[in-house]
């Protein structure tokens, strides 16, 4: 009677005995010929549903009394429909596909959430160690029982990061032979991209197992962590033998995970490299410590822009003359623009000037050669600077100053007058020809010549927050610096500019003071600029 029904049908009577079944039900329940199944062949959940139905009486609605459960590895919903004779016809509707789809959806959701968590955790840090640690911990927590991350080689050694289950993350740096783990060498190379590899747990070398992992390893996969152009390392996932092996879906997910982790790791590594390059460059570019040279005081102060991307373009150098009678060559300058490009140009200028030291007596020639060295057809990035040649002549200090498009140096006279040095000239590095006009200045004891960059005068702040510090304020401040030591003058200027700024962003600020010290000069030792050849022991 039910033979043609598309679903397995089982008719059960009041007593709970199987009265009739169709072919589909028979092959489902018995998995053998045409024999009639008995009560004992019914799955437990269906028998219980039938009992419940009996005790509840005749169901009022068709949907009431339905049950669900598994039969022979498949899942079904059983819908009862009572007959007039008191028997119940159970229709079994298979929902295996739906359930599997729901399970897959659930696990996809979990994975998507995990990936989001991975990205969130990893991208919030640009610290390579922390990124590696997070990756290892998450891999061990969500993908396997233990995880090992092999970082790209540093020389012959690899940094290894181990994580297992909920435990701690441990690190080690070991000389690792990548060939001992199948697929590892290729994965570390990163190109061409290699697929995830299953490997035999038997052949796993000792270093590839997290210290303290005492369970038997059942399955292992090796997944490359793809980076930007260069590999970010390799992820090795280990599962103990009691745990099920990796399914195809899990393997795919491990690759997705590795892709996210690899991107974050290589971003962190790139950042670390860049900041180390910046630090190296900066170390080279840091202004020198200044001190007294041939009885003339020099003091410099440099306050780099707080904006770290905008590494500065201000610089100064003091090249002492070989003898007290020789001129000391002083440079202060400012490169247009900011950032690494400006810093590199700064380095170039300092090197060129250093090389031109033998010619430093002729400012015009030095600037002409420097201009030629800097001229570039690609851009018009330029520098402005002041060259100063300093020589002590008895009580006085003689300066020869040449501005190449720079703000005019200021002289603080002994009585508090502040004079602008009338040197002028063209900036260097942008025009085919330059012109210069040098000016000679004499400093009496207690007088100072101040060189500075526009970071000082263009410091924006003040009571209203939008005014420039300006040359007038600078001159006013310097009026109070008569007879002060060089150190004190630069300190005061930097302090005033910093106070003016408040908390605002600012450009680099550099100041350099050249001071003829009050009473600092020993007239007995140097006469008219020529050193007295007779040694005099003042200490004795």
């Amino acid at each position: 009677m039910w033979g043609g029904a598309p679903y397995p049908v089982i008719v059960i009577d009041r007593a709970g005995d199987v009265v009739e079944t169709n072919d589909a039900a028979r092959s489902l329940l018995l998995d053998r010929g045409a024999e009639e199944p008995t009560t004992g062949d019914l799955p437990r959940w269906l028998a219980e549903a039938h009992d419940r139905l009996k005790s509840a009486g005749t169901p009022s609605r068709a949907s009431a009394g339905a049950a669900a459960g598994a039969v022979a590895g498949r899942t079904f919903e059983a819908h009862p429909s009572p007959t007039e004779g008191g028997d119940v016809v159970w229709w079994l509707v298979e929902n295996t596909g739906l359930r599997l789809a729901e399970e897959a959806l659930h696990s996809e959701r979990e994975r998507a959430a995990l990936l989001a968590e991975v990205s969130g955790e990893l991208l919030s840090s640009l610290n390579v160690d922390r990124c590696t640690e997070v990756t290892a911990r998450m891999a061990a927590g969500h993908l396997a029982d233990a995880a090992v991350i092999v970082a790209p080689a540093q020389g012959r050694r690899h940094a290894l990061t181990y994580a297992q289950g909920e435990g701690d993350v441990t690190r080690a740096v070991l000389p690792v032979d990548a060939r001992t783990v199948p697929g590892l060498a290729e994965a570390l190379q990163g190109f061409p991209p290699v697929p995830t590899r299953w490997i035999d747990p038997e052949g796993l070398p000792e270093w590839a197992v997290p210290p303290g992992f005492d369970r038997t390893i059942g399955s292992v996969i090796v997944t490359p962590l793809p980076g930007h152009g260069m590999p970010a390392g390799v992820l090795i996932l280990l599962r103990s033998s009691t745990h099920r092996a990796f399914t195809e879906g899990e393997e795919l997910f491990a690759r997705l995970f590795a892709a996210r982790a690899g991107a974050a790791l290589s971003a962190a590594r790139l950042y670390a490299e860049q900041s180390s390059i910046t630090a190296t460059l900066l170390r080279e570019l840091l202004p020198p410590r200044l001190e007294r040279v041939h009885d003339v005081d020099y003091a410099g102060a440099y306050r780099a822009s707080q904006d770290h991307e905008r590494v500065g373009g201000d610089f100064y150098d003091v090249h002492p003359g070989a003898h007290a009678t020789d001129e000391t060559f002083v440079v202060l300058g400012d490169v247009a623009g900011k950032g690494l490009e400006a810093a590199v140009l700064t380095g170039k200028i300092r090197s060129v000037l250093h090389a031109l030291l033998p010619l430093s007596g002729d400012h015009r020639q030095v600037l002409g050669l420097l201009n030629g060295a800097l001229l570039n057809s690609h851009h018009t990035r330029f520098a402005t600077l002041v060259l100063t040649s300093v020589r002590r002549c008895s009580e006085q200090v003689r300066l020869r100053l040449t501005s190449a498009g720079h703000l005019p140096p200021l002289i603080i006279r002994e009585d508090g007058r502040v004079e602008e040095v009338a040197t002028s000239g063209t900036l260097v590095g942008a025009l085919p020809r330059i012109r210069t006009h040098s000016v000679d200045v004499t400093l009496a004891p207690g007088e100072t010549c101040l060189l500075y960059t526009d970071g000082i005068t263009e410091a924006r702040g003040g009571p209203l927050g939008d005014q420039l510090f300006g040359e007038a304020r600078l001159r006013e401040a310097l009026g109070e610096c008569a007879r002060m030591p060089a150190e004190a003058v630069v300190e005061r200027v930097q302090m005033l500019a910093a106070q003016w700024l408040g908390s605002d962003r600012h450009d680099d600020m550099a100041t350099l003071a050249i001071t003829n010290p009050v009473g600092g000069h020993d007239p007995a030792r140097v006469v008219d600029g020529y050193q007295d050849p007779r040694p005099r022991g003042r200490e004795s």
Partner: protein, 133 residues
């Protein structure tokens, strides 16, 4: 008027005829915007050349609406001069704020920027007289 860039920094065309183009610079021309200066002016020059042919002799820059100018801005301006001068286009600066005048003077480039540009070698003499006749 054609606006080439959004409000904070822009270059607009004031007037144009065959031989002269008047541009106005608005906003801050500094480290953050100096890279936009060259394309903005080049766009105006290209539009002019498309309409009149290579007849431009004078490029006037009006700085009345300038709000800030730094060394990167000067670098951009020198870059413009490096392109216009060989092309026989003379630069003229108008209404520049005190700080701009001061910066051009201190850096010693005032005369250089506005020096007269002789007609480009490529221009045929007859053509140079053409547009007015």
């Amino acid at each position: 008027m054609t606006s080439y860039l959004p409000a904070e920094f822009s270059v607009t065309v004031q007037t144009a005829d065959a031989q002269a183009l008047h541009l106005a610079v608005h906003g801050d021309l500094d480290y953050d915007t100096s890279d936009d200066f060259a394309p903005a002016v080049a766009g105006a020059l290209d539009a002019h050349a498309e309409r009149y042919g290579p007849t431009l002799r004078d490029l006037h820059l009006d700085w009345a609406e300038l709000t800030a100018f730094d060394s990167s801005g000067l670098s951009a301006l020198l870059g413009l001069h490096r392109r216009t001068h060989p092309a026989g286009i003379t630069l003229h600066l108008h209404h520049q704020p005190v700080y701009l005048t001061r910066m051009l003077k201190v850096t010693g480039v005032t005369g250089h920027l506005t020096q007269h540009a002789p007609a480009a070698d490529t221009a045929v003499p007859a053509e140079a007289n053409g547009p007015t006749g």
